[in-house]
């Protein structure tokens, strides 16, 4: 009897081990696929950057031509371009370093760890703070918002997170302050936060009225 139990145990062990092997193979395959996809993405990005530089070169050549065809206008435009260039170079390195810092330290994984089911005004505040941190264009936030929904966050919090991610960013705020003044910047962000709050309430209300909450999908 004892032996049989051992045997059973052994069987189970073998089963679990083989299962583990299968899942590990699976994930390795997935990992390879992911890596390939990333490589492809990087290649595409490089291509895009190269194309941007070609366009830039064409514009510079056009600028030189304009300068020689209309010398008087050329001098004026060169002066304002130069002034503008100085304005940019005073803050651009700092802004890009800030983007670098945020993208290394405030990763999406970190953010989605803290974002969750918290609802109501507290949930709004958490989504507000976390939304301002990660760098990147709006479309990288869509999968995060989807993951939030599966985690059980309210629709309103998804709206808040996405909108804040899109509209309120530290490098962006600094840039706006530099080029549009503190009054304009402060007012616009205050109104933006207030309106995002009402938007999230409204969308949440509409979804609650017309749809049952996603209970089955949350784990």
């Amino acid at each position: 009897m004892n032996k049989q139990k051992e045997n059973e145990n052994g069987n189970i062990n073998i089963d679990t081990i083989s299962e583990e092997i299968i899942t590990s193979i699976d994930s390795e395959e997935q990992y390879g696929e992911k890596k390939q996809k990333e490589l492809k993405k990087q290649k595409e990005k490089k291509k895009k950057i190269l194309r941007d530089y070609f366009i830039m070169l064409a514009v510079i050549i056009a600028y030189i031509v304009i300068y020689f065809v209309f010398p008087s206008k050329g001098a004026v435009s060169l002066k304002s371009s130069w002034q503008f260039f100085i304005e940019m170079i005073e803050v651009l390195p700092a802004i890009t370093i800030l983007i670098g810092i945020l993208s290394v330290w405030a990763t999406h994984e970190l953010v989605s760890k803290y974002l969750g089911k918290e609802s109501g005004f507290k949930g709004f505040l958490i989504a507000l703070v976390l939304g301002t941190l990660p760098a990147g264009p709006l479309y990288v936030a869509f999968p995060i918002a989807k993951a939030l929904r599966l985690k059980g966050a309210s629709v309103g919090n998804m709206v808040t997170y996405l909108s804040v991610f899109a509209a309120i960013k530290l490098p962006q705020i600094l840039m706006e302050w530099r080029f549009l003044g503190w009054k304009f910047t402060a007012l616009r962000y205050i109104f933006t936060v207030i309106l995002i709050y009402f938007m999230s309430l409204l969308v949440d209300f509409i979804f609650k009225k017309t749809e049952k909450p996603l209970k089955g999908k949350s784990t």
Partner: protein
């Protein structure tokens, strides 16, 4: 002279020094990311600088004030909001552009509407948003963002007159 330059550079520099003390490897990594984002942003900036220079020298004096100023009214605000929704422009590049239009006499309302829809609404990425989050969610979010942008613009126009 301009406080914002000192605050921006001072803030970033002190954060960077703090991070170098805390984690050297990660700090280097963020500098690497910074360099690559600088390289990818540079063409847009150069093109913008040239375009603004040429535009300002060729447009007759007062053109921007006449067509984008407070005289442009609600139609101007609405058009700026539409333009901001459709364009796919990094906001870091957009603020200098908006700033130079603003200093040339474009109205507060127009600039606020443009900047707000530019950041909050992604017409180009709407198909992706629909695919990931559903048609209803994506359309509602973008529609309400548009309305919010118009409201923000009007409120700012009233206050910053």
């Amino acid at each position: 002279m301009d406080l914002s330059i000192y605050v921006i550079n001072g803030l970033v520099l002190s954060v960077l020094i703090f991070l170098f003390i805390k984690d050297k490897r990660k700090a280097f990594e963020s500098l690497k990311v910074a360099l690559s984002s600088f390289i990818s942003l540079l063409p847009s900036f150069i093109i913008l600088i040239i375009a603004i220079g040429v535009l300002l020298s060729f447009l007759p004096a007062g053109f921007i004030k006449n067509y984008l100023g407070s005289g442009s009214g609600y139609l101007g605000v609405f058009s700026a909001a539409i333009l901001g929704s459709v364009l796919f422009l990094p906001s870091i590049v957009a603020f200098p552009l908006a700033g130079s239009l603003y200093s040339q006499g474009a109205s507060v309302m127009l600039i606020a509407a443009f900047v707000t829809t530019l950041t909050m609404i992604g017409f180009v990425t709407l198909p992706m948003e629909i695919k990931e989050l559903g048609k209803k969610f994506a359309l509602l979010r973008n529609l309400f963002s548009f309305i919010a942008a118009i409201l923000i613009a009007i409120l700012m126009g009233v206050i910053l007159k």
